[in-house]
Symmetry: C2
């Protein structure tokens, strides 16, 4: 896997594979052909075979894919079998909604704390997680060995805050601030652009 880099188009499809396999598993499906998987996912069967071959393939001629096995292998490739410690920056509405997001735990993401600059929020509990002051974030990251920060703060503060968190040891950001966050150095940023998604909806409605 490390030898031959996998194209970002493939890695973008992996979470979709994982989600579909997770649904199949819930439905009790034990095996699936690339043809059936392709119909569900609306990509071609040859695309599926090609994608999964990047990871050594998992299919058997005439049998198809074992759902449980493929699910667990893709989960490993996605790194979902590890536990990752996460903090949320910003205890506003989005921060609260994410703290309540049930699927984190299933995927190995452990929310350890929520931080906010607003002192009046400090000490509140959100989904069983304490809101702490931003003044204590540096010590917390280092003591707890926090790897990921979810940013739900106003865009004006996103960059400077992220740079500080990097210096404290955070290596991954899930960014909900309404700005394309580009950070220097060796960190991973996943920008969520809700606003762009909304505009795409508006555009498609206008064209309809």
């Amino acid at each position: 896997m490390k030898e031959k880099p996998i194209s970002s188009a493939v890695t973008k499809r992996l979470p979709r594979y994982f989600r579909y396999l997770s649904e199949l598993k819930e439905q009790g499906t034990e095996r699936i052909s690339s043809k059936e998987l392709s119909e569900r996912m609306q990509v071609t069967a040859s695309q599926i075979r090609q994608d999964l071959n990047n990871f050594g393939g998992f299919g058997q001629q005439g049998y198809g894919y074992n759902v449980e096995h493929l699910y667990s292998e893709i989960g490993k490739i996605l790194g979902l079998n590890r536990v990752r410690k996460v903090i949320i920056i910003g205890a506003g509405h989005i921060g609260q909604a994410l703290a309540n997001f049930q699927d984190f735990k299933k995927r190995g993401f452990q929310i350890c704390g929520i931080f906010d600059v607003k002192q009046e929020l400090v000490g509140q509990m959100i989904a069983g997680i304490p809101v702490m002051s931003m003044d204590s974030v540096e010590a917390f990251i280092q003591e707890q060995n926090i790897q990921i920060a979810i940013l739900t703060l106003p865009k004006e503060y996103a960059y400077e805050t992220a740079v500080k968190l990097m210096q404290y040891g955070v290596t991954g950001f899930w960014n909900f601030a309404l700005v394309d966050l580009k950070l220097p150095g060796n960190v991973v940023v996943e920008n969520v652009h809700l606003e762009e998604s909304l505009m795409t909806l508006a555009y498609n409605l206008s064209e309809g």
Copy 2:
């Protein structure tokens, strides 16, 4: 515009153009060359010229683009100059966060009501918007001429609920339920896959 369909790759970039232009406008920038815009957006200058030519182009040789003009033209193309009436289905954490999302109004989206099946939530106000019973959603959609529904309900109920809402007159869905919603007929669906975004982050962290 109607004569020559625009590729979905281009339409996907339009919201990004719009967002960058919106930032430039806020900073008081009056004009920008395709070169500068390309550096900000990390796409090539020729890509930008090509994309904007789909809409008749807006640049002038040796001057670049007038930010205000381009912003307003792209806004029109995206249909952001219209008012659209929206309801939120599900008054849980994500529904609440979205009801509080300030940018809706700026983009012409008017949240008219929030609906939930839980009777104990009915009558509550969220961001100044009343929570109503799902029993009254049909009459509400028809009386208020609602066009868009934001779905924040459990995935098990997403499809059947969406089909009903379509029958009542909804033509666009912004779907936060953790399922790829595919609906029959002539409606627009924009699926938001928070879970996939999180898995992409996990994968990129594993590879780092």
